[in-house]
């Protein structure tokens, strides 16, 4: 009996070994490569049939036959950035030694040639044999299976960028991206980033405010620093993300295209920590602005994500760096009118981050005081979820409502001195410290004429005090 079992196991072992050898000898890249050669040969033969010169047609058929019999091999490009890209092993049409015209009529991947994007032939501007693929598309260049190569696997930080997100890679080298053709989407992302006041809380390489993290190297953020629990709470279009989509791109996108408080929940009721911790202080960009419209659409969120994915500290060899302004704001334009200048200053320093576009709607500030909060006696009787909802009603001031109660000098003083973290009054005294506060702007470079003109502009947007009480 044991002998029979031993023999049986031996056969099974040999069978497994044989399967492993067979599988290793027949990887998918070989199937793709052979299919491509056959498709290209078929197309060539079809073309040969239309040629009237029999000699030329015969030669073309001969070439097609050669193509059909091309030996299969791993192809790789040693890029000028030091990478090794084997993408052309499957994407054979991008190999200029096989497909010198770099064009074909195939539409299906991995057989299609590289498309023109906005009329630009990328092989001419970024020769693939020199630049490789991953410098623009990201992914895992060394891998030889589709899943690994596209990088949607564990421990690969930079999976494939698709569609307009690829423009993030453009902006890493092309610091002039705001004025370059084909980079309009990433340029839009930068414009929206500054218009909506993101720099009011986030600096980029030290330029901007330090209320929260500097985003100068956000594209390099290791995924290990994002809690799987938080990722599991992310919903895009109402759906949870499969684990292979727990990417930095989706993490950033979710922050702008959904309410970040829903997945960076932290511990506001101190269930797991000795002290309560407020959820993220980040704005809910899906909420309506003062005019009743969703402040940032999904397309806007994608553009901002693209811009943020361009922010890396990876070293680009200087000879491939195209000079320009880069991720920083443009130099200040000149304004003759102090009111117009003040409005510009409001946007420049990201005041909209807390006070809304043009100061028209104060943002959420968890556990700060806000309109509509129930009394603390009532609060004590609420469920945990209701308590969190009450604390989430905390608001930053809506400037259009309050600036009319200041005069010019008072505004200047207020902005200069700010409201420190500890001075922001809490709705629930046992709750967490509200995440947003007003920096002392005199220490952050906002002074002199900029400050003066900002106060001048603010006084033009304030509602009349008459609307409250008629005095």
């Amino acid at each position: 009996m044991y002998r029979k079992l031993f023999v049986l196991f031996n056969f099974a072992l040999v069978a497994v070994l044989a399967y492993a050898i067979w599988r290793s000898a027949h990887p998918m890249w070989k199937v793709y490569q052979r299919t491509y050669y056959n498709m290209a040969a078929d197309a060539m033969e079809k073309q040969a049939a239309t040629i009237k010169d029999p000699a030329a047609a015969a030669k073309m058929r001969e070439q097609a036959e050669d193509l059909r019999n091309t030996p299969l091999k791993i192809k790789q490009i040693l890029t000028v950035f030091g990478g090794v890209d084997r993408c052309t092993t499957c994407h054979v049409a991008m190999d200029e030694f096989v497909n010198p015209t770099m064009k074909n009529d195939f539409t299906q991947q991995p057989y299609a040639a590289h498309p023109l994007v906005d009329g630009i032939d990328f092989n001419k501007t970024h020769n693939f044999q020199k630049y490789g693929c991953t410098v623009c598309h990201q992914g895992q260049g060394m891998a030889t299976t589709a899943k690994d190569a596209h990088g949607f696997v564990d421990n690969w930080q930079k999976p494939l960028l698709k569609g307009k997100y690829i423009q993030a890679a453009c902006a890493r080298c092309h610091a002039n991206f705001e004025h370059a053709k084909g980079m309009e989407f990433v340029a839009l992302g930068k414009k929206l980033f500054y218009k909506h006041g993101c720099q009011g809380c986030h600096a980029i390489d030290g330029v901007g405010q330090t209320v929260t993290v500097d985003l100068g190297d956000i594209a390099d953020k290791p995924l290990e620093r994002i809690e799987p629990y938080n990722f599991s709470l992310v919903r895009i279009d109402g759906k949870a993300l499969p684990k292979d989509q727990w990417t930095l791109q989706n993490w950033i996108f979710a922050h702008v295209a959904s309410d970040p408080e829903s997945f960076v929940v932290n511990d506001p009721l101190a269930k797991y920590n000795p002290q309560p911790i407020a959820p993220t202080g980040m704005v809910n960009w899906t909420a309506d602005d003062a005019s009743g419209h969703r402040e940032l659409s999904e397309q806007d969120a994608a553009a901002i994500t693209t811009f943020l994915l361009s922010l890396t500290h990876e070293q680009i060899p200087y000879q491939y760096h195209v000079a320009g302004i880069g991720p920083m704001p443009d130099p200040d334009p000149h304004f003759a009118d102090p009111v117009a200048h003040g409005k510009y200053v409001f946007e420049k320093y990201g005041c909209a981050a807390c006070h809304g576009l043009l100061g028209a709607k104060g943002r959420r500030n968890f556990n700060a005081l806000g309109p509509g909060q129930v009394s603390l006696d009532q609060y004590a009787k609420l469920s945990d979820a209701q308590k969190i909802a009450e604390m989430a009603k905390g608001r930053e001031p809506t400037l259009t409502q309050v600036v009319g109660t200041y005069d010019h000098q008072e505004l200047v003083n207020k902005i200069s001195n700010g409201v420190p973290e500890a001075a922001v009054a809490r709705y629930n005294p046992d709750g967490p410290m509200p995440p947003l506060y007003m920096p002392a702007w005199k220490k952050r470079g906002l002074q002199g004429k900029e400050l003066d003109d900002l106060a001048t502009w603010l006084l033009t947007i304030g509602q009349s005090n008459q609307s409250q009480g008629g005095f």
Binding site: L376, N413, A423, P429, N465, G469, F471
Partner: protein, 237 residues
Amino acid sequence: MRNYFKYLGLALGIVVAFGLMALVNTVSASAAGKSAAELQREQALANPYPNDLGPERLDAATMKAYPAKFFVGLSAAEKLMAKDDHTGALPADTGGYALMLVRCSTCHSAARPLNSRFVEVPGEGKPGTPAYIASAADAMKKLKAEHPEYFAAENSGVWQIGDHIWSRYVHRMMNKPGCPVNGVEGKKIWEFLVYDGMHRKVGAGSTAWKAHQEKLIDEFKAKYPKRYTVLKQEDDL
């Protein structure tokens, strides 16, 4: 025997340590149990101004000289104050002084507005109308011409005179989340503060007011030297 004492000492030490911990917890728990308004008040006290050191009520002689309408409902207001209730209902005809005492002390003591250096020069007619604004500006000019000392830099801690200063401040406080003052009450409080400023701080009472304010500033300087320096630097004394 010596060992017994050692262990007894150790046990006592542990008991004392636990006792201290419990005490600290009780103190912090009582601090944590405070309402938002109480914390706001604490915050106001932690950032004091010279006016906070002054009296929290008008004296009897002043009250007698002022129109009675400001003091309607004062006893009801005092009852609420005694219960530390700043949001409770008051009769519709409650006067500005009574309202000021109850509502303003939600976040700070009534001494802050009563001893404030703010003086608002009122206009004539309906507040907020162009005629009112123009007449208030004219009255300001007149006051400045007649009493330049009110506007002198060396007296900036005694008088700060503007044509809308109380209107702005009352509205600012009304806009703070949780402020119990509505538009109707705010107007009455404003009317009282404007009247009080014009009758107690300038004119016949100006000399006494100046002495009172200077005394408060001196006391403040002695009591809160650091805060005094900060406010002096910020030109906010």
